[in-house]
């Protein structure tokens, strides 16, 4: 599965130039649907946690670190350890999941997501 920026993503000044149009006021309205990049990181992190048999009290909550594209997430396990996740919304993002300060996974985010959806 190839990864890309969020669905319906870019302003289309390029399209106007490419097709030689004068009036592109509508096309310039195209804007990102938000959130999918954050969701991907969160899904991947939870897939890893459950695969490793870690009981979750608070599932990871993710945010894009200013100015991006780095994404960080935090949560807790039922035995009180911190969950810390680092990844990004960029293509070829790497995913690092730490529990109680120990790295339990480091690898390509897309591999985690694809494996979870394949039989």
């Amino acid at each position: 599965m190839s990864r890309r920026p969020p669905r319906a993503a870019v302003a289309l000044v390029i399209a106007c130039a490419a097709v030689g149009l004068g009036g592109c006021s509508q096309i310039s309205a195209l804007a990102p649907v938000g959130g999918n990049g954050l969701s991907e990181v969160r899904f991947g992190a939870i897939d890893v946690l459950l695969q490793k048999g870690i009981a979750v009290l608070s599932a990871p909550v993710c945010a894009v670190a200013d100015p991006g594209p780095v994404v960080t997430c935090g949560g807790t396990t039922t035995d009180g350890r911190d969950i810390a996740v680092t990844s990004s919304i960029a293509a070829d993002a790497q995913l690092v999941v730490m529990v109680g300060g120990e790295t339990i996974f480091s690898g390509a985010l897309v591999d985690v997501l694809d494996e979870a959806a394949r039989g």
């Binding site: 599965m1 319906a8 592109c24 990102p32 649907v33």
Partner: protein
């Protein structure tokens, strides 16, 4: 019968019979007999089977296979502590719902579509064209069949009380799509045969950029390995699509696709004319110029007239002739609400959440009591100007807060419905001179957590399964439940059940629902075979990042715990039994139409 006395039971039956569900004696006999446990246990859901991507068939194209079922996973993020182990033995159902979202019913032959925009940037414009577009009515019918199969809760056996729809039901603002979606949920057939043979980009050799199932070679879809299916388009329009309809009353809200074109652009007069006209675009240049160029605002009336003549005479390049059809007219905001009154009272309700007050006032938000103890609030979070994401207008924010204060005084559990979720509530686009305050996610959530009666916020928009916990500073909070779509893989919806654990906690069970089609497409050309093919095609539509949309296991089949917001023992067992009898009577009437 349960806790109701015989006299009370007969009084309820008499009322339901008078309402026309079934003849009194027949109804009394049917309601006195519990629904068969085997039928409940065997109802297909992701508890017993999931659908996963399988091996490569050709190039990068993969088929689908059955995967193991997934049990409900308890989540205690909001509760903040372990749940009592014995809660399953004493629980009782307060409300059992179906949650549908982002159905995106598509009239794929319509000239009011802008499919060629994917040529400019496939990922950016992925929602303008999907390889499975002509099969969307079949998917909705298959999903409706699954919801009907799950008319009794797989958790408690309770009958379904209602269904809620959180927007993006009609894909391209077309009256025909609007009508199809209402009819399919109501249990009427729809006829996709709008021309003698399929007339659209997927049938035209010139549209080499599209997935053309007769001969996919030459474009990106062929290169990916999409299959040659010579009869697919003929089968898609060969016969009316029959739907069993939903087994419970359904309620709806606006999505961005019912507000703006493709959920993003303003609708101009040129596009309105194209939608009902007889020329359909198959090139990027023609689409960008005629549909999205800001044309009407920038071009003189004379030039528009000459262009319209050129289009009708076939002089404009990039268009092919299709049958003109006035039923494809783009609807207005008011017409969207109005159309929901053209329906039946079964499953009902007439208006599907919208009331005469909405039609008179133009207000696009509403409230309804789904039971004596659960109130639902349907918001319109769509931006009226531009962009797919939304926000909460201040007037709705204030209205909702006032209503939540009332619900708190009245001991009503509250469920909030909107199209947008907390990841997509930051669009504050306005026209010059407008000064409406649009409120984003942080402020909205901060208001909701002030009212413990708010237990759930159901939404959609991002075409994925996701469940987020929102905790109040002093403890407690609510669950935000985002349901996937019927267009993108995994083509899943959900059931949601509120359960009183009788220990001071409340559980919300979410169960993901696959539509009724098998993982592997058959060859019959019936609606289930076509829905199955749609799901397989969608799982390979790489531009839509399909696989991540299933969510994680904590976003699918779950038991979401939270503190009971008030003493739930004040809800009498007899009141719940009356509620369940009412729902069962509706289901019995629904079942009468299944045979």
């Amino acid at each position: 019968m349960g806790v109701l006395s015989r006299r009370q039971f007969l009084a309820v039956v008499g009322g339901l019979a008078a309402a026309g569900a079934l003849p009194r004696d027949q109804l009394a006999h049917a309601l006195a007999t519990p629904p068969p446990r085997a039928a409940i246990a065997e109802a297909p859901s992701t508890l017993s089977r999931t659908i996963l991507q399988g091996a490569v068939q050709k190039g990068s194209y993969r088929g689908l296979v059955s995967g193991p079922g997934e049990p409900h996973l308890p989540r205690i993020d909001v509760l903040g502590r372990s749940a009592a182990a014995g809660r399953a033995a004493s629980r009782r159902s307060l409300l059992y719902l179906a949650h549908l979202s982002d159905m995106h019913v598509i009239d794929a032959q319509s000239p009011g579509r802008i499919e060629p925009m994917i040529v400019q940037d496939h990922s950016a414009w992925g929602s303008a064209f999907h390889p499975q577009d002509p099969l969307s009515p079949h998917v909705i019918a298959a999903m409706t069949a699954s919801i009907s199969d799950l008319r009794y809760s797989p958790v408690t056996g309770a009958p379904m009380d209602a269904a809620v729809v959180t927007g993006d039901s009609a894909d391209m603002h077309s009256h025909r799509e609007l009508r199809w979606y209402i009819d399919l949920l109501d249990g009427r057939s729809v006829d996709p045969r709008t021309s003698d043979s399929f007339q659209g980009v997927q049938a035209w050799a010139e549209a080499v950029w599209a997935y053309r199932p007769v001969d996919p070679a030459g474009g990106a879809f062929g290169a990916y390995g999409f299959p040659t299916l010579p009869t697919l388009l003929d089968e898609a329009i060969a016969r009316p699509v029959e739907s069993v309809g939903l087994p419970a009353p359904w309620y709806t809200v606006y999505g961005n696709h019912e507000t703006l074109l493709l959920g993003t652009f303003d609708l101009d007069t040129q596009l309105r004319a194209l939608a009902v006209g007889g020329r359909k675009s198959y090139t990027l240049e023609a689409t960008a110029a005629m549909a999205l160029g800001g044309y009407a605002a920038r071009t003189s009336a004379l030039a528009q007239t000459l262009d319209a003549w050129g289009l009708e005479l076939g002089l404009r390049p990039g268009f092919k002739a299709v049958p003109a059809d006035p039923d494809r007219a783009l609807f207005t905001q008011q017409e969207f609400m109005q159309e929901h009154f053209t329906t039946s009272d079964r499953p009902g309700p007439v208006g599907h959440g919208f009331t005469e007050h909405n039609l008179r006032s133009g207000e696009t938000w509403w409230k309804a009591d789904l039971s004596a103890h659960v109130r639902v609030f349907g918001l319109d979070t769509c931006n009226q100007v531009a962009g797919p994401d939304g926000a909460v207008p201040k007037n709705q924010f204030d209205w909702l807060e006032s209503e939540l204060a009332t619900a708190t005084r009245e001991n009503r559990l509250a469920i909030v419905l909107s199209h947008h979720n907390s990841d997509t509530l930051e669009n504050r686009a306005q026209r010059p001179g407008q000064d409406e305050v649009l409120i984003g996610a942080e402020e909205f959530i901060a208001m909701l957590v002030k009212y413990p009666v708010v237990v759930a916020w159901l939404n959609g928009h991002t075409h994925l399964n996701q469940i987020l916990a929102h905790r109040a500073p002093a403890g407690g909070g609510f669950w935000e439940i985002t349901t996937a779509s019927c267009i993108d893989f995994p083509q899943q919806q959900q059931t949601v059940e509120l359960v009183d654990n009788r220990d001071g906690t409340l559980s919300i069970f979410t169960t993901v629902v696959d539509h009724a089609a098998d993982p592997v497409p058959g060859s019959g050309g019936d609606y289930l075979a076509l829905a199955s093919r749609s799901r397989e095609l969608a799982s390979n539509d790489w531009a839509e990042t399909p696989l991540m949309r299933r969510g994680s296991p904590l976003d699918r089949n779950t038991e979401l715990l939270l503190p009971a917001p008030f003493d739930l023992s004040t809800i009498a067992d007899a009141a719940l039994e009356t509620q369940h009898l009412t729902a069962r009577a509706r289901i019995l009437a629904h079942e009468g139409g299944l045979s």
